[in-house]
Each structure stands twice: as C-alpha cells, then as structure tokens.
C-alpha cells in the first residue's frame, strides 16, 4: 500500500515535533526515517499508525484519507522500540492475539489460527519456544516475537520504531540483515525509524533524513551518502570533520586551507562550512611552504584494518579525525606529539 503524507504538523506544548512535512512512500518500499532523537521521526510513525493525530495535514493510504479512521481499523503492524509484548501471555498467545480479538464474524476458527501462528513462529525462527513468556526471552528473541505478532494480522503497512535500538551490536547486525530478507519475501510496505545511519543505509530502499520536524533529504542510501543535500545531512551520515571559512573567487578559504571549487560562481562571496570524511584527509610531515592545516597528533587508535589519528589544531574545538591505512601510518612513523599538515583530498563545501 502506498502512503502519502500531506503537510503534517504536530505540536507538543511548545515543542514542534513535525513542521509541515510531506512524504510519498511507494507500495512495497522499505523506508528508513533517519534523524537525531527528538527530530519528530517517531511522531511521524505514530501518526501513520493512528496512535497520534496530526494538528494539521493528513495521511492517505492508497489514496484514501485515514484521518477519521481508528487505530484498530487501519490494519497497520507496529513494532515498538521496547517490543511491548504482552508480558502475561506466552509467545504463542502474543502472536495469536491480533487474530483472536477480531469480531466473531471475521475471526478464523481456532484451528486455523493455531496453524497460522505456528507458521509465523517458524518464519521468525522462534517456533521452539512458543510456550515461553516474554521475560524468558532475550532481546533479539523478543523483537522477533514482536515482529511475528505485528505480521499476524496481515497488515497493509509495517511500521517499526527503532526496532533494533535496544539490542547489542552483534544481534543488531544479524536482525538487520534478517529484516531486509523478510521484507523482500513479504513485500509489505514498511517504514522504520532509526537514529543509526549505518542501519538506515544498510537496510532501506530509500532513506528520509529528518531534522527538527522537517525532511532534509530523501534518496537512496547511495544518493544521501554520496551527495548530501546540506551540511546537516553530511554531518549526520557518518563521521565528518568540519572547517569553518568562506568562499570567494570560486575558492574555499579555511584555516590553512585553500580549496578550489569547480562549478562555483566566481562572484559569489559568503561564509561557508566545509566537511571532509576522515578517509578523505591526508597527513604529511610539515615542509616549508606546504599547504594544509597544521595540527598536532594527540592520539592514534585502531579501527578495523585502518588507523585513526586524532589531531588538535588552533581555531577549532573538535579534534580532526583522519583515517588511513595501517601500513601508511607505520611507514610515516606517526606518534602522538608530532606536528603534521592535514590536507583534504576532497571537500564538501556548503555556503551559508
């Protein structure tokens, strides 16, 4: 089912959670709503589900306005951040709940319900613990039960609120991959909320970057990562070093930096913020007349196959982070205390 969100605003007291937000979601898509906490992404999800009502604007599902529709009638599957399993029911009864509470005329016979629940439990690979209570399950298992329960009612839309937020890193990675496969099999329109950019980029078809109740950018994971629309998106999607400066004559001038900007009008002059990813920075020993930011190496540590350097420099509070191949760091004999020149091999400049 496609979802159209039209000019939705929502205010909590003096806090503006959503600010005239519009978004189209296609049938069968897996969409990630990505943003910092408090950006309104969960509110949007709850509005789609009908758990919250927008102050203004509306949500259409398959072209139909859902404004007056009660939660129960919307037929959405909602997976809560903390699972929200019924703690006094077994795994089996949790999954069967949605089927058993249907009005008598629509309810399947108990035998059919049992069969269906068992198939779902197999699908989420927890059929062997259907007699257990939620408290007896680990976080990852609970999340699977929550998902099976949401899928049991054959939802038109599946909504997931920070589905893996409360799990440890290893389980999270497994479940992420598993959710993607599950979505490909079931093909139900799905929206999940996350503040973890890695999760959004790995799982989603399209990523919607939300900030302060507005959409900053919509695009495929590749698009938003490689072509961030603005400084916020760049800064949010992965580690970033920030340099404040200005552009004039088609060149960015920062602290010790001169970076030509092809495609920038020469007559434009303004303040600007420039970003570089840690792996887009190079370091070298200072040479007379050498270009780059002069900075002092404070710390070096390991990140997978690479080495990360933390450098401090005048004119910025945050340290500069440089990531380079271990062999190269060893060859240059980099040790804390050395003064180095940092130069970006590529730089994204956002005039302000």
């Amino acid at each position: 089912m496609s979802i159209q969100i039209r000019h939705v605003s929502k205010q909590f007291g003096s806090f503006r959670a959503l600010n005239d937000l519009s978004l189209d979601i296609e049938t069968g898509e897996l969409i990630a709503l990505l943003g910092p906490s408090g950006c309104g992404k969960t509110t949007l999800l709850r509005i789609i589900a009908g758990l919250d009502t927008p102050d203004t604007g509306k949500v259409l599902v398959q072209g139909e306005d859902t404004s007056g529709l009660a939660v129960q009638k919307r037929n959405v599957g909602f997976v809560f951040q903390h699972y929200a399993l019924f703690r006094h029911m077994t795994v089996f009864d949790n999954v069967a709940f949605g089927l058993r509470v249907r009005p008598r005329s629509e309810r399947s016979p108990e035998k059919e319900i049992r069969g269906r629940v068992n198939r779902l439990l197999e699908l989420v690979q927890i059929d062997w613990m259907s007699d257990r209570y939620p408290e007896q399950l680990s976080g990852g298992q609970r999340q699977r039960v929550a998902l099976a329960r949401a899928l049991a009612v054959e939802p038109r839309i599946l909504l997931l609120d920070e589905p893996f937020g409360a799990l440890d890193a290893k389980v999270r990675k497994d479940l992420r991959r598993w959710l993607r496969r599950l979505h490909d099999e079931l093909n139900v329109t799905s929206v999940f909320v996350t503040h973890d950019q890695e999760e959004a980029l790995e799982v989603a078809d399209r990523v919607v970057v939300v900030n302060a109740g507005r959409i900053e950018q919509i695009g495929s994971p590749d698009e938003v990562y490689a072509h961030p629309a603005n400084a916020f998106v760049y800064g949010f999607l992965g580690a970033a070093n920030r340099f404040d400066g200005h552009v004039s004559g088609g060149v960015f001038h920062g602290p010790g930096l001169r970076h030509p900007l092809p495609g920038m009008a020469h007559d434009q002059t303004s303040r600007a913020i420039a970003f570089a990813r840690p792996h887009d920075l190079e370091v070298e020993r200072p040479i007379p007349g050498g270009a780059g930011v002069s900075a002092q190496l404070v710390r070096r540590y390991t990140r997978g196959a690479n080495v990360v350097l933390e450098l401090s420099h005048d004119g910025a509070d945050a340290p500069i982070e440089v990531e380079l191949k271990r062999a190269e760091a060893d060859r240059m004999q980099l040790e804390p205390g050395q003064t180095l020149l940092v130069r970006p091999s590529s730089l994204r400049v956002f005039p302000q």
Binding site: Q72, V76, F78, F80, F97, Q136, Q141, R149, E154, E185
Partner: protein, 315 residues
C-alpha cells in the same frame, strides 16, 4: 578472584556480631511490646470467661447485627473503590490532562484528613441542619444514621488504597502494551480486559485487601455519621466501644478479637499475594538468564531462502 572481593566487601560492610544482636533484640522487643503483646492480650481477655461466654458474645443479636452491617458496608464500599481506584489510576497513568496533579493530591486527601473531620463533612452536607438536610427530609431519604451514611464515610476514608497501589505500577508499565493491542485491532474494553488487567492484578488484589481491612476497621468517620443505634447502625468497631463503655469487657474483647483476626488474615493474604508475585518475577528472571546465555546459539539465522516458501504461505 571475584569470590575474594565479595568476601572483603561483606566484612567491610557488616557490623560486629554484638552490634547485630543488640539491634535485633531492640527491634524484636519493640515489636513484641507494641504489637504481639496487645494482640495476645485481646485474645486472652476475650477468652477469660471461657469459650461459652466468648461465643455467646458473638451470637448476641446486637453483635450479629454489627457483624452483618460491617460486612454490608465493606461489601459496598470496597467494590466501589475498586472501580473508582482502577479508573483513577488508569486515567492518571495513561493520559495527559489538565488537573492531573490535583487529582493525585485529592486521592491522597483522606490519608491526611482526620476521619472525624471526614464524618463531620457528611453531617454538614446531609444532616438535619446541613445543606441538603431539608430536601432529604422532604423526600424521605435517610443518609445520616443509616447505611448510606456509613457507606459514604467508609468510601471516603478508603479512597486512596486501591488507586495508590495501582498508580505507580501503571505509570511504570507505560502505555506500550495497550497501544500494541490497539494496533492489533483490539477494542478499548478488550484491551483493558486482556492486557491491562492481567498486568495489574496482584497490585489490585493487594489494594483491595488493604481497602477491605480499613473499611471493616474504620471507627472515627463512621462513629460521627452512625448515630450509634444498637442493632441498626453500629458496626463492629462501634459495637466494641459501646460494650467496653458498659464494662462488658469479655464481650467487648470477643468482638474485638474478630477484628484482630481480620487484621491477621489480611496480613497473611497480603504476604501470600506478594509471595506469589515475587515467585513469578524470580522464575522469570532465572529463565531470562538462561535465555541470554543461549542467545548466541539461538540467533544463528536459518537461510531466509529456505523459509521463503513458508513466508509466502503465511502472507
């Protein structure tokens, strides 16, 4: 290594042996002097003139009437406060609204107001000289010095028991399970019945037990509105007072022993409820530990392709 640390910490945090003994003796001594001895005294006094007198005091018509009246008043007041307490706790824990803080304060009011004042309030409202007195007289409705007055006074003083027991629990449990039930298509009533109620049943039971004990034992507020008509508006505590004032000590202690017995039964029931609850939690925690340690084994994903057929069957 860990064992060694534990040992050191235990030594460092524990008082010397003599200190522990002294503290324990003081605590038990106070308990005996102020709780056990008086309770025993009630029973001893009640049976001083033998079982025959004891039983006679209980089956005497006025005593029987007092027992029946007490049961009737509690039988009305407790269910009322069960419903009210649950509704108030539900509203406070699950919704945001103006005046919520005021409602919480009001629920606690009966704890801070003297029961005598509570009784006088009803006299002021329903009494002959009260606001509604003339109107009630004209319509031949009796509230004061009758069952309705006793029930009102009892409801007032037992207001907070159920609500207070539930509010903190429901606030801690949050709204998630109810919202989940709604998204799964359950109606509000079904959600309450199948999701909320099972989660609060132990606290609800504790609240009802305490509420009932107070309802049966209440003296002050009931005394003001009762009128002390023998065989008609005397509850058990009032009956005890009358007997005592008439120097019928054996009979007074006999009825009082029933109230003391009620207190003991209440305590035992409360302990049993809490024990059942604890046991459930403890069992769940033990099982959780097992689940956590076996998670690495459990989560090994089966290839999704192998499940595709089932997935389609489910969808």
């Amino acid at each position: 290594m860990a064992r060694g640390h534990t040992f050191v910490a235990t030594r460092a945090n524990t008082e010397p042996r003599w200190m522990r003994i002294v503290l324990t003796v003081i605590a038990l001594g106070f308990l005996a002097a102020f709780l056990v001895v008086p309770l025993a005294a009630v029973l001893v006094e009640a049976l001083r003139k033998g079982w025959a007198t004891y039983l006679a005091a209980l089956v005497e018509p006025d005593a029987l009437a007092a027992i029946k009246l007490t049961l009737l008043v509690a039988g009305i007041a407790v269910p009322f406060n069960l419903v009210f307490g649950t509704a108030a706790a539900w509203a406070i824990a699950k919704f945001e609204f103006r005046g919520k803080q005021l409602l919480i304060t009001l629920i606690d009011l009966p704890f801070s107001v003297s029961p005598v004042v509570a009784g006088l309030v009803y006299v002021l409202v329903f009494g002959q000289q009260g606001w509604l007195g003339p109107w009630l007289r004209d319509h031949d409705i009796k509230i004061l010095f009758a069952v309705p007055g006793l029930v009102l006074a009892t409801v007032f003083v037992t207001f907070p028991f159920v609500a207070r027991e539930l509010i903190s629990l429901m606030q801690a449990q949050g709204n998630d399970e109810e919202e989940a039930a709604l998204t799964l298509g359950a109606s509000g009533l079904r959600t309450f019945w199948h999701v909320t109620l099972p989660n609060i049943k132990w606290a609800l039971l504790t609240g009802v037990i305490l509420c009932n004990a107070r309802a049966m034992g209440e003296f002050g507020a009931v005394s003001v509105v009762s009128g002390h008509i023998r065989g008609q508006t005397n509850t058990m505590p009032l009956h005890v007072e009358i007997l005592y004032n008439e120097y019928q000590f054996a009979a007074a202690f006999a009825v009082a022993s029933l109230l003391a017995l009620l207190a003991l039964v209440t305590l035992v029931l409360k302990a049993v409820v809490e024990w059942l609850e604890e046991r459930g939690v403890a069992a769940a925690e033990r099982a959780k530990k097992v689940a956590d340690s076996s998670e690495s084994a459990a989560r090994t994903p089966v290839p999704a392709d192998a499940r595709a057929g089932q997935a389609l069957a489910v969808a």
